[in-house]
Symmetry: C2
Subunit: 447 residues, 2 copies
């Protein structure tokens, strides 16, 4: 297809919006989203509501002329035939949600994929290679506690046995396997990139952060997913009386932890990384006792594995110095210098960076620019995803990229999650354009 | 008495040490003190063990020729007659302990007072005014939860009704009154500084901090008790995803709290005050969620009420600025500057400074210097008590001072609490000297 032909193919924005909200009747949440008329979602993976929306997905895509296959993890692959043989170019995301989630995280990506297929049909477009839509099982990890577990099995990151054995949280006895069987979605296709290869994977998703919104960006062409490491930091000092112990004679684990937390942020900013502390506990916990024990979580992230390692190394060295009351970063002024504490590091999670395929990223970028026209400029931005998605696993075995659209205040995993009809439509239009451009590229390259 | 005569009067250090450990058989704790052969104490106020040691106190002081009176709060006043009429010069402290306390906190002060009486008898010294020893009820506040409550009633700080109504902690039904009655120590004397005035109050106590030990000091001449205020500080920001939210778009309550805690210490050091955070809680408490809510305790202390107010005021102003991401004290570097948080202050406890009587402090100082001789130098130090004692209340209505002696590592309220025989003896010797010097001073002044 020429650029001119591509420009003429437009998704139906109203249809997309209407369809998306219709299927949200299955698994409606209890709470209304703040400032919207939408109700949030509570569609836990493999629940009755998830079965209902899966049935709708299968019926809808079959009615669009797709061949639908279900693998051993319940992942659903709907394929619309193209001219040539070879693995399909997919749009993929997930229909499950958090227990108090919203209507756009995952759901938008699947619906946009279906809207792409509808638009191809409406315009009687025959693609070079097959195109399709994937609904990945249990992206959220909210009910069976490993996120992206089914795309992970497909990619060979987890064994089927491990995934099947996951028991639901909250004291229930159901396993991921028993629930797949119960709702009739334990498929016969092997859950494997070898048995069921993917030609390419494009995932439209809300940003789940405020960067686009704040910079008046409209489309993020996602180049990859950040590396992150989670640590538990333990600071050990000595309990003492707040009234009878001067600063010089304290080993104040809380004051030390405050310095370490501040320093981790300062160093992360300096190196273009992120640092966050979301959990902190201390002992003994009395107003007039200086705590001798503090434990806190440290989440550090970077686009580059090497940069993350650099941050980790500098923090390991600096934390020890700060705790020993040495002067680092202006944190240990003479007046509060005490007897020092010790610091222990424990690595909890280590997730290396994911790099998406430059061909795919360029297809997203080109489609966004084509859609926004002369107005594009800073509205199309290359981005790195801060959170994980199924695309992290598809990227291991297939050219992949993601498309980000703004969501209000960057809020996600909350009933107030909101993506405007304009942004949903923009995302789906770019998804269509990216898939068609990639299809063209594949044909040119003969891949 | 001349200085020469005073110098010749010496307490019996061995007797003091032996007597103290003998009475510690009543209310022995379960755990052995670390690195000592002593067992810790568990002699809760008005318990059976407390009755036993009270009976010993009454019998001992009566056998020394004292008149013993018990007031409505169970405070015991043992008085050895002097030449002149007028309220007695007392040594006072307490025989009750924490549930897992030590053998020196309070106990040393009472035993040293009795040793003073024994020494006066041994040396056939007739004082100008009567001298005596007080055992104050429930200094610890561990069983009936107001500390120093019985000296507080004596001073008019609490009503007898309020003190009587206190119910024991831990779910029991006993009240302070019912237990006073049960052990036979609800006396007929009115618990009041008006009905039962005190001529002066000297209290020997372990320091409960490491200042003397670390500076090779032997005697603290205590000038007063610090003012302190307890606040609960609430920092409100906004939860967000640690991976998808850059620093600029965060309202990170934990990072803000870390800055506030560090700043409170820096400002306190600058103004010669103390600041401490012993409790911190946050929400929601997940490694990959930046917390939108943090609450922490802030304990600030100073010798001067005015200084404490100055610290409070500067922190109130600076906390608001820091939370609003303004630059204060080098804490808000550009790199981590976000959208800001709000800070709320709640005052929990407000305890003004206590100033002891200069005459009494000088008597302590002179006695310490006389005892240590040419060796005194920095071994006698003017100090401010960081913790509260019964002397806080006696100081409201009678000339008062305290004598501090070092305790190992500054540890108190713990079975490992330890004060060496040398330091116990030093303290009792200074107590004797201070009481005799004050007695002489009163006679000179004709008070």
């Amino acid at each position: 297809m020429t650029e001119q032909q591509l420009a003429a193919v437009k998704i139906d924005r109203d249809r997309l919006w209407r369809d998306l909200h219709e299927t949200c009747e299955w698994g409606k949440g209890e709470r209304w989203g703040e400032g919207t008329t939408d109700i949030g979602m509570s569609r836990l993976t493999l629940s009755d509501a998830d079965k209902q929306v899966r049935d709708w997905f299968v019926n809808t895509t079959e009615s669009l002329g797709c061949k639908v296959q279900i693998d051993a993890m319940g992942n659903i692959f709907a394929v619309r035939p193209g001219k040539k043989a070879g693995p399909p170019t997919f749009a993929g995301s997930h229909l499950d949600t958090q227990p108090t989630g919203g209507r756009y995280d995952g759901i938008l990506g699947v619906h946009a994929g279906i809207e792409v297929l509808k638009t191809l049909n409406d315009n009687k477009i025959e693609t070079e290679y097959s195109t399709g839509v994937i609904n990945w099982t249990n992206e959220e990890g909210a009910r069976f506690p490993i996120s992206m577990v089914a795309s992970g099995v497909w990619a060979g990151a987890y064994s089927l046995e491990k995934a099947y054995g996951l028991v639901e949280v909250g004291g229930g006895k159901a396993t991921q396997k028993s629930e797949l069987e119960r709702i009739g979605y334990l498929g016969s296709l092997e859950a494997s990139y070898k048995a069921n290869p993917i030609g390419a994977h494009f995932e439209l998703h809300i940003e789940q952060g405020p960067i686009l919104e704040n910079s008046e960006g409209k489309i993020g062409a996602v180049e990859g997913v950040q590396a992150f490491k989670w640590f538990i930091i333990t600071v050990k000092g000595k309990d003492c009386h707040t009234g009878t112990t001067d600063f010089q004679n304290r080993s104040d684990a809380m004051l030390t932890a405050a310095k370490l937390i501040l320093h981790s942020h300062n160093k992360a900013a300096e190196l273009g990384c992120l640092a966050s502390t979301g959990i902190l506990t201390l002992k003994p916990g009395s107003t007039n006792t200086v705590p001798g024990f503090v434990q806190f979580s440290l989440d550090i992230r970077s686009r580059e594995d090497q940069k993350l390692l650099e941050l980790e190394n500098v923090l390991k060295s600096d934390f020890a110095q700060i705790a020993a009351e040495k002067e680092v970063g202006g944190l240990n002024t003479l007046g509060t210098r005490g007897r020092g504490c010790t610091v222990e590091w424990q690595l909890d999670t280590d997730s290396p960076a994911t790099k998406f395929h430059e061909d795919c990223v360029k297809c997203v970028e080109a489609s966004a620019k084509a859609m926004l026209g002369t107005d594009a400029g800073g509205k199309v931005q290359r981005m790195t995803s801060g959170a994980g998605h199924d695309s992290v696993y598809t990227a291991r075995h297939a050219p992949t990229s993601m498309i980000f659209v703004p969501c209000r205040d960057g809020v996600s995993h909350n009933p107030s999650e909101y993506c405007s009809p304009e942004d949903c439509g923009n995302g789906a239009q770019v998804l269509l354009g990216a898939m068609l451009r990639y299809d063209r590229l594949r044909a040119e390259k003969g891949a």
